[in-house]
Symmetry: C2
């Protein structure tokens, strides 16, 4: 959530005039995140996040915002989007799509412990279960086609070792067929900065803007690829990963095919984020405040998958 | 090579009358092997093996016999089929397809050492290279369709643990796509009893009757699944496997995709032979002399693949 689009107070007031949320007390840009522009907006009636979408399709955003409303109705800790006076979640500011959502309490955790991981696994499982009845579908915008184009864009900028790692993963990513894995709504970006805790309680899953219809086991792998790699001194935090995976599988039954797909899912997750972060690093977008994340941790995920698959697989036993 | 079809001396004489191989001095059934009926035939002009094919298609057999002639022309140690007076490799005896091939010297090795494995890897690589220009193709008769039918046949006869192992492997076998792996002629059954040694020299690759067009890396995995598992006290003989694989890859360049496909190939090999041996055990065919092989070693291969993938993958490093 870097800030690419700068918003003035009068522009904010115009935008908020189509909502019934009271008078603005405070607003500020949020530096964290990388895709969209985000502002905290506090009014006399509540705390909100205003997001201006920089690259997303209107159809995809409607899917995400309605999903957040749906999950919120299911008592999942996801922020409820606020409808404007025309009853729409999706609005416009400065000719860009924008939305106002409830701001949840709590803060993200940089160095998660076992109990945090357990709660994340459990809540992700609950989200997957609840969303089984969400009727809409959305394609993955960071899927096969995106991967091919992006790899092509960045390949020439890599050193020999990284080129070889990329080639190996691109080749592998074609060979595993996820169509046998159970599908549903996936968050696809449930990283540490997208989960909020209030003390020991998980208070929010946020930033559903990559959510799409995909393999559920891939979503678990995306989550583990961030929560259980590199957040402490060790490359892979096995106790944390085991806690996350076991809590998840106590909440949603994981079948044999999904357990077989675990390593390919971790590699798919590692490749997706390594590629997107390399791209952001090599071809930065201009903005008011921007925050580019380091690709290195996902290179580490991929290398670890290639060398220590037994250890990674053992989280299921 | 069990003996299902018993042949009398007059029947043998009638058969041999269409060949120019001289007078029979000796003949006897061969007990080893499981699919076809085989006889050693010694005449005053040479030593031969007569094979009567119990279940094979004529078209497939022509592919195999011509392949053996082709490889023999390439100076590979494969037995040369003998053409009859009509110039045909494939003949008939007792209304079954039959062929006469050169009998090579040497004997098979039960407990191979590192040097045996190195020679097997090197010769398999040379065979794959040479056969790249073999023009004919043949489908794998022990492929996806056969696997599905056979698993269905035997599943009800297995105990709970074996059923669960079978289900897991059947599910996995669908998910890996070998179409990205380099293809060519594969022997598909290069087990210890199908390689002959004369002292330290590899003198023959025999029994090409499962040869077909397939992934070359699968053929290497089939070979390792027998040569490097269970022939000594340890389950997996890593030094032997490393020697076999390295000698192979010094002879034929193995690409990244094939190295990625190594474990799926070992599991495909383990499943194929576990299934066929279980089937032979549960539904034995009647014959004069029959030799049914134990399915257990391939169950061990599969279990080892599930638990010790890093060790198996490390043969490439």
């Amino acid at each position: 959530m870097s800030v690419y689009t700068k918003l003035s107070e009068p522009e904010l007031d115009t935008f908020l005039s189509t909502y019934l949320v009271g008078q603005v007390l405070h607003f500020e840009g949020i530096e964290a995140g990388i895709e969209n522009s985000n502002y905290f907006v506090t009014t006399d009636q509540g705390r909100f996040v205003l997001t201006i979408f920089e690259q997303a399709s209107v159809e995809g955003l409607k899917y995400c915002l309605e999903l957040m409303a749906f999950l919120s109705d299911c008592a999942l800790p996801s922020p409820r989007p606020v409808a404007n006076t025309r009853g729409e979640y999706l609005n416009t500011v400065k000719n860009k799509p924008a939305a106002l959502v409830e701001r949840l309490g709590g803060a993200s955790i940089d160095k998660p412990g076992i109990e945090h991981c357990r709660l994340v696994g459990k809540t992700l499982g609950a989200m997957h279960n609840a969303a089984q009845s969400y009727p809409a579908t959305r394609e993955n915008e960071r899927g096969r086609a995106w991967r091919a184009v992006t790899a092509e864009q960045i390949r020439g900028h890599l050193n020999t070792a990284d080129k070889s790692l990329l080639d190996r993963e691109m080749v592998f990513s074609k060979s595993f067929d996820f169509s046998y894995c159970k599908r549903g709504v996936v968050h696809a970006d449930l990283f540490r900065d997208n989960v909020l805790f209030e003390g020991p309680k998980l208070s929010g899953l946020i930033d559903f803007y990559y959510a799409h219809s995909g393999s559920l086991i891939y979503d678990l792998a995306v989550t583990v690829s961030d929560w259980c790699f590199g957040s402490d001194e060790t490359v892979f935090n096995q106790p944390c990963a085991k806690a996350l995976v076991q809590a998840y599988s106590e909440t949603r039954v994981v079948d044999t095919m999904e357990i077989e797909a675990w390593l390919p899912s971790l590699r798919a997750a590692g490749l997706r984020f390594w590629l997107s972060r390399l791209k952001d690093q090599l071809f930065p977008r201009h903005g008011h405040l921007t925050h580019i994340k380091d690709p290195a941790p996902f290179k580490t995920v991929l290398q670890h998958c290639q060398l220590h698959s037994d250890q990674l697989q053992s989280v299921w036993s």
